[in-house]
């Protein structure tokens, strides 16, 4: 069952109701925004629970067990708890900066979903600069990190914010360059057209050796660093920075940072699915099931990283990006250029 048909039907019945076209589009987009928010909230709640279960089982524990079947209602209980928590704003913070940082963190993560195809035809707006837009808009996260770090008027937060920004900035370069070979071969920036270029399984970009797997590995490493996850979670290192930039946040503001973090993780995996794993393409099942399944496999991979690798040192972290990933990703791009030019892969 394709979800896109339901939305098409709803849009048609709205268009036939006699409203002016502009209002029909605005109502449809607002509804789409609310639906995307709802889906993201559910996904984030699920991912938090899943992460806790995965970590528990890797460490031979059970994790949450009491609330619902194997603790599935645990994160809902957590969300209800967070909404009831007192929102403490210390007296000497920079108030507007402190207030807007979590909002920007969430909105930057949320806006990327305009151009991510959840399934065949299941995309809010197929922007013709799709992937460039997503890369550009998710980079706004840096601003929110710096705002939270500076606005808190706290030394831990400042150090954490600065480190996060330096890290995100460093891993942005290999991330962007690693997706360029895909654009080179697909010849388009539109996410839908990139998926359509991978109709058969041997056309998936991850299987186009040698540049595909290399680009995929660089992208996953850079994406892990972009989302500040272990082994690259120095900005939030509990043991030395007491959680870094969000030290002073409590209540719903903290919840927004938390939500944005999990939404960003899902975004990274959704982009990887779209660019490398053929997006929604797959037999038998509806397209959105394929998309969700592939993305969740990648999310599981990131969780697996987190509970397997120890944390890097900050100098190793920066050197790994600039001295290894950046030259490698550029070399990969040049290899892909020669491959495309010599028409090795014309399938």
């Amino acid at each position: 069952m394709e979800l896109a048909n339901i939305f098409k039907y709803l849009y048609q019945s709205l268009a036939n109701s006699g409203l002016p076209q502009v209002w029909v589009d605005i109502i449809a987009l607002v509804a789409a925004g609310l639906i995307v928010f709802g889906v993201l909230a559910v996904i984030a709640l699920f991912l938090v629970w899943w992460e806790r279960k995965v970590s528990a089982h890797i460490q031979q524990r059970f994790g949450p067990m009491r609330t619902g079947w194997h603790g599935v209602l645990q994160t809902i209980a957590d969300a209800i708890k967070l909404i009831q928590k007192e929102d403490i704003t210390p007296t000497n913070v920079d108030r507007p900066v402190f207030y807007w940082a979590p909002i920007i963190a969430f909105v930057a993560a949320f806006l990327a979903y305009i151009a991510i195809p959840f399934g065949k035809g299941l995309i809010v707006s197929d922007l013709n600069i799709g992937i460039l837009f997503i890369i550009a808009i998710t980079t706004f996260t840096i601003i929110s990190l710096l705002m939270a770090g500076w606005g808190s008027n706290n030394k831990y937060a400042l150090l954490g914010g600065m480190r996060s920004a330096a890290q995100v900035v460093s891993y942005e370069v290999p991330m962007v360059v690693s997706i360029l070979p895909i654009i080179l071969f697909a010849g388009t920036l539109s996410m839908v057209e990139i998926v359509e270029a991978q109709a058969k399984i041997y056309q998936w970009f991850i299987f186009r050796v040698p540049f595909g797997p290399i680009a995929f590995i660089i992208y996953i490493i850079a994406g892990t660093a972009e989302t500040n996850r272990t082994p690259f979670d120095l900005p939030e290192a509990e043991q030395e920075l007491v959680a870094g930039f969000n030290v002073e946040y409590s209540g719903m503001k903290f919840a927004m940072f938390f939500l944005a973090e999990f939404v960003n993780m899902f975004t990274v995996c959704a982009i990887a699915t779209t660019l490398f794993l053929g997006g929604w393409q797959g037999p038998f099942l509806p397209s959105w099931v394929w998309f969700l399944g592939k993305t969740l496999v990648l999310v599981f991979l990131l969780m697996w990283f987190r509970w397997t690798y120890p944390r890097l040192r900050v100098d190793q972290l920066m050197e790994f990006s600039w001295k290894f990933l950046v030259p490698l990703s550029f070399a990969n791009l040049i290899i892909a250029g020669f491959m495309k030019h010599s028409k090795w892969f014309n399938w």
Binding site: L29, L34, F37, V177, P181, W322
Partner: protein, 117 residues
């Protein structure tokens, strides 16, 4: 309607949803601020001085290199999209461009500015 209208409307929906959640939380949460609670956290001691301190970080070097490479990436995007029609000439030209910038990276590397201290 312009396809970029979605960006504007999503911006408003995103901000609106977050502000609405903040408003909802305001209705149900307690509020009991007092002086000790509203202090900044610093290991359970009263904080020493302001949090806005000067510290030696290497941020600006990385920021400068980042700007160079990000601008380069912006040039690479249209090149990658149009690559099918451009042919070998554009490929060689772009390789020269990339090598020049990578040479800058190696210069910074040998200068020792890529060390985070």
């Amino acid at each position: 309607m312009n396809e970029y209208a979605a960006v504007l409307i999503f911006l408003f929906v995103g901000i609106g949803v977050v502000l609405f959640t903040f408003f909802l939380a305001r209705l149900v949460r307690p509020s009991n601020p007092y002086k000790a609670k509203n202090q900044n956290y610093e290991c359970a001691e009263p904080p020493i001085g302001s949090g806005w301190i000067q510290f030696n970080n290497r941020f600006y070097i990385f920021a400068l290199i980042f700007v160079v490479f990000d601008v380069e990436a912006i040039f690479l995007f249209p090149w990658a999209v149009a690559f099918g029609q451009l042919g070998l000439y554009a490929l060689i030209e772009m390789i020269i461009f990339i090598v020049i910038l990578l040479f800058g990276l190696f210069y910074a590397w040998k200068k020792g500015v890529l060390k985070w201290v």
